[in-house]
C-alpha cells in the first residue's frame, strides 16, 4: 500500500521565507516533485518522486531549497 | 643613495615627500606619471622595495587611488601622488576612502589649471577641490608645506593623521615647493613619532567594523586577512559596516565622519604666525607664496609698517579662529595666493567684516613676489 505523499519525509525542503517564486525549480525538476503555489512559490507536491538529483537546489537563486541525500556537489 | 647616510641633504620637495613617506612607515605606493609630481613615484619605485614595500605604476589615476585603498585595508600604509588633472580623476575613490574610513595619503603637487593648463607652472588652484572635490559631505585634512623640510615633516604628519583619524589626508604643495632644492635635516628613526592605526581588541565574533569604542569616534580597523571577515562598502552603512537606508543610521554615520575630526580641531589645525601681535595689516599666505609674504613682512617692518603674517599649515581644517583674532586688531587683511581667489573666501568668512580683505591673486604660472605683496600693503594702508 502506498504511503500518502504528505506522510513521507521529504528529501526536499523549501524555505518559503526566502523563496521569491521565480519558478526555476519546478520548471527544471525532472520528476515534478515541486509545483508552484498561488504565489508561484515552490511547494513539495510529490516527495515520493524525488530522486535527490539536486537540480532544484543547485538552480535556486535564493538558496531556499535543500535536498537531503544524493550526490555531494 | 644609501639610506643610513641620510642626515642633512640637499633635496627636492618631491624627494623629501617620498623620504617622509618611508620614515612614516609607508609600504605601498600606486601612482600614474604626472608632472610635476612624478619624482615622488620615481623615487618610491626605488625606495619602497628596499624597505620591503611595494610600488606599482597603475594604468591611470583612478586605478592608483583604488589600489591605495585596497592596500590600506590589508593593513599597509599607502599613498599616491598626483597633480591637478589626476587629483580630479581620483575624487570618486577619495570619496570611497572617506566613507569607508580607509587611511591613506594623497600628495597633490599643484600646477596651473583648469584642465591640462600649465603642467610645469606653479599654482594653488586646487584648494577648493581639496575641500569639496568629492560629492557629499565630509571633512578633509589638508597639509600645506612651504619648504622642502616641511615636505618631509608634513608627509610624516599626513600619514600619522591618516592613521589617527582613519581618513585620507592630503598634502598639497605648489610646483615651486615640489621642485625646489633645499637643505633638509632628516630626523633619526623615532625622533618624530610615527602613529599606527588602532586595531580591534575584541575577537571577530564581537567586532563591529564601524563602531567607535572610545571618545575619538574612530572605529578600530581590522586588516583583511586577520580573520575578522568584515564588510567594507561605499554605501552608507551602519556600525556593522553593512549598507543601510535608515535615515537615523545614515545621519549618524555622516555625523560621526564630521565629529571624529571636528571634535579634535586643536589637535588638527596648525598654522604659523609672524609679527602678528601688533599687526595693522595681516597677511595670509601658504606654500611658496608664504615665503614671499614672509619677506614682505620683514621689508615692511624695516620700513616701519606694522605687518604680520598668518601661514596656514593645515589649509583644511582652516585656522579661522586665528584669522578672526588677528583681524580684530587689523586695519586690513591681505590674502596672497596663486589662484584667482580661493582661500580668500574662507578668510572673508573668518574675518566677519572686522577689516576689509584684499587679494594679491595671480594665476599666470608666475610666482608671487615680495614686491607685489609690499605694493599692496602700501596701497591699502
Amino acid at each position: 500500500m502506498a504511503i500518502p505523499a504528505e506522510q513521507l519525509k521529504s528529501p526536499v525542503t523549501v524555505n518559503l521565507a526566502w523563496c521569491k517564486g521565480c519558478g526555476i525549480c519546478y520548471s527544471l525538476c525532472p520528476t515534478k516533485v515541486l509545483i508552484g503555489n498561488e504565489l508561484s512559490k515552490a511547494v513539495v507536491a510529490h516527495p515520493e518522486l524525488c530522486t535527490s538529483c539536486r537540480v532544484c537546489e543547485a538552480h535556486c537563486p535564493d538558496y531556499a531549497i535543500t535536498v537531503e541525500g544524493g550526490p555531494k556537489r | 643613495m644609501s639610506v643610513t647616510s641620510l642626515k642633512a641633504k640637499l633635496m627636492q620637495g618631491n624627494q623629501a615627500c617620498a623620504e617622509g613617506a618611508i620614515y612614516a612607515g609607508a609600504s605601498f605606493y600606486a601612482g600614474y606619471p604626472i608632472t610635476p609630481s612624478t619624482e615622488i613615484a620615481e623615487i618610491l619605485s626605488e625606495r619602497l622595495p628596499q624597505v620591503g614595500g611595494r610600488f606599482i605604476q597603475m594604468e591611470d589615476e583612478i586605478a592608483s587611488m583604488a589600489a591605495v585603498i585596497g592596500a590600506s585595508v590589508t593593513g599597509a600604509k599607502a599613498m599616491t601622488a598626483t597633480s591637478g588633472p589626476g587629483f580630479s580623476l581620483k575624487q570618486e575613490n577619495i570619496g570611497h576612502a572617506m566613507i569607508t574610513e580607509v587611511p591613506c595619503v594623497i600628495a597633490n603637487v599643484m600646477r596651473l589649471g583648469p584642465s591640462t593648463g600649465g603642467p610645469t607652472s606653479p599654482a594653488q588652484g586646487d584648494v577648493m577641490q581639496a575641500r569639496w572635490g568629492t560629492h557629499g559631505d565630509h571633512p578633509v585634512i589638508t597639509l600645506c608645506p612651504n619648504s622642502v623640510q616641511e615636505c618631509f615633516e608634513l608627509t610624516v604628519k599626513a600619514f600619522n593623521m591618516a592613521e589617527r583619524f582613519r581618513t585620507p589626508v592630503f598634502i598639497m604643495f605648489d610646483e615651486i615647493i615640489g621642485h625646489m632644492r633645499e637643505r633638509v635635516v632628516l630626523p633619526e628613526p623615532g625622533q618624530i613619532p610615527v602613529v599606527n592605526r588602532k586595531k580591534p581588541e575584541v575577537g571577530p565574533e564581537s567586532y563591529k567594523a564601524y563602531e567607535p569604542v572610545d571618545e575619538t569616534l574612530v572605529p578600530p580597523m581590522a586588516s583583511f586577512g586577520d580573520g575578522y571577515r568584515y564588510h567594507v562598502t561605499g554605501l552608507t552603512h551602519d556600525e556593522t559596516g553593512f549598507a543601510t537606508t535608515k535615515p537615523e543610521k545614515m545621519a549618524a554615520h555622516l555625523q560621526r565622519l564630521h565629529d571624529k575630526i571636528n571634535n579634535f580641531l586643536p589637535e588638527v589645525v596648525d598654522y604659523e604666525e609672524q609679527s602678528i601681535e601688533d599687526a595693522e595689516v595681516v597677511l595670509l599666505a601658504y606654500g611658496s607664496v608664504a615665503r614671499a609674504a614672509s619677506r614682505a613682512v620683514k621689508d615692511a617692518r624695516a620700513a616701519g609698517l606694522k605687518v604680520g603674517l598668518i601661514r596656514p599649515i593645515t589649509l583644511w581644517p582652516f585656522p579661522g579662529e586665528a584669522v578672526k583674532k588677528a583681524a580684530a586688531k587689523a586695519k586690513a587683511v591681505i590674502v596672497a595666493e596663486m589662484n584667482l581667489g580661493q582661500i580668500i573666501n574662507e578668510v572673508r568668512v573668518a574675518v566677519e567684516g572686522q577689516a576689509p580683505v584684499y587679494g594679491v591673486l595671480r594665476a599666470d604660472g608666475e610666482p608671487i613676489s615680495p614686491t607685489e605683496i609690499l605694493a599692496k600693503i602700501k596701497e591699502v594702508l
Binding site: K20, C22, D62 | P49, G75, F224, V232
Partner: protein
C-alpha cells in the same frame, strides 16, 4: 540553506536583494563551492566587487569583502593582492562594471597577470539602473536606452581577456553549475590572472523586454546554446550558428605579478647591502 555551503554565506543577510529568477545567486553558489573544493582558508580569502547587481554579492559572502566604486574593483583588488600576496583574491564584477567603465582596469590587470580570480556575471544589461544596454548586449537588443534596438556590437570578454594577457580564461553559465564550479576551481588553481565569464540572466530587465521567456526559460536557453569546444567541433556547420562556447578557453601559465615583485624586493634589498 544547505549546511554544505552555509559557512560561506552571511546567512543573516539573506534573502538577497536580487530580483526573482535572477541567476546571480546561482553563480555565487558556484564560486563558494569552488572555494570549498579548493580548500582555501576562509580567513585569507577576500572578495572585491564594483558596482551593479552582481557587485552586491560580497555583502552576502562570509569573507573579508570590499564593495568598491563602479568599474574599479580590479584596481582595488590589485592593491589588496600586491600589498598582501598571501591573500586569495576574488573579483566579482558585471558586464558593465568590467567591460565598460572598468575596461581599462580589466585589460591592464590581465596584462600584469596578477593572481586574481575574476568572475564576470554577464547578464547583458545594466540591471541595477533599470535595463540599459551594456557592452555585451547583442546587436538588436531592446533596452531602456535602446528602444529602437541596440546598434552597437558586443564584446566577447573572454577574447578580450585572452588578448590582453590573462593566463586562464573560461566561460560557463548558470544552467550548467557543475561546469561553472569546475572552471572556477581551475581558475583558482591557476597562479595568475584567471578570468571566468559566467553567463547570468536578468529575466526582469533583459528577458522581459527581449521576449526571452521567464527565469527557467532563460536557463534552458543557456542549456541549449552553450557547448564545449569539443562538442562544437563535432557539430555540422549548419548547427553551429548561435552557439556559445563554454569551458576552459585558454590556459597558458605566465609569470605572476606579485611573484615577480617579490624578486624586485629581493634585488632592491640585496643591492642595498
Amino acid at each position: 540553506m544547505n549546511p554544505e555551503i552555509a559557512q560561506y554565506y552571511r546567512v543573516n543577510k539573506l534573502p538577497h536583494i536580487w530580483c526573482p529568477g535572477c541567476s546571480n545567486g546561482i553563480v555565487v553558489r558556484s564560486i563558494v563551492e569552488a572555494i570549498d573544493k579548493a580548500g582555501l582558508d576562509q580567513d585569507k580569502t577576500v572578495i572585491v566587487s564594483g558596482i551593479g547587481c552582481s557587485s552586491r554579492a560580497p555583502g552576502y559572502m562570509n569573507f573579508d569583502t570590499l564593495h568598491t566604486t563602479h568599474g574599479r574593483a580590479l584596481a582595488f583588488a590589485t592593491g589588496v593582492k600586491l600589498a598582501k600576496p598571501e591573500l586569495n583574491v576574488f573579483v566579482i564584477t558585471g558586464d558593465g562594471d568590467c567591460t565598460a567603465i572598468g575596461g581599462n582596469h580589466f585589460i591592464h590587470a590581465a596584462r600584469r597577470n596578477i593572481d586574481l580570480n575574476v568572475i564576470l556575471f554577464n547578464n547583458n544589461i545594466y540591471g541595477m539602473t533599470g535595463g540599459q544596454y551594456s557592452p555585451t548586449s547583442p546587436t538588436g537588443t531592446k533596452a531602456t536606452t535602446a528602444v529602437y534596438g541596440n546598434i552597437e556590437r558586443s564584446f566577447d570578454s573572454c577574447k578580450l581577456a585572452q588578448t590582453a594577457g590573462a593566463s586562464y580564461v573560461a566561460r560557463g553559465n548558470a544552467f550548467n553549475t557543475r561546469q561553472l564550479t569546475d572552471i572556477i576551481l581551475k581558475g583558482i588553481e591557476n597562479p595568475g590572472f584567471s578570468f571566468i565569464e559566467a553567463l547570468s540572466s536578468c529575466p526582469v530587465y533583459y528577458g522581459r523586454r527581449n521576449k526571452k521567456g521567464g527565469p527557467a526559460d532563460m536557463l534552458k536557453w543557456q542549456r541549449d546554446v552553450c557547448v564545449t569546444q569539443a562538442a562544437y567541433d563535432r557539430l555540422p556547420e549548419e548547427k553551429r550558428a548561435g552557439k556559445i562556447i563554454t569551458g576552459v578557453l585558454h590556459h597558458e601559465p605566465q609569470p605572476e605579478y606579485t611573484a615577480e615583485y617579490a624578486k624586485i624586493i629581493e634585488k632592491a634589498q640585496g643591492g642595498n647591502g
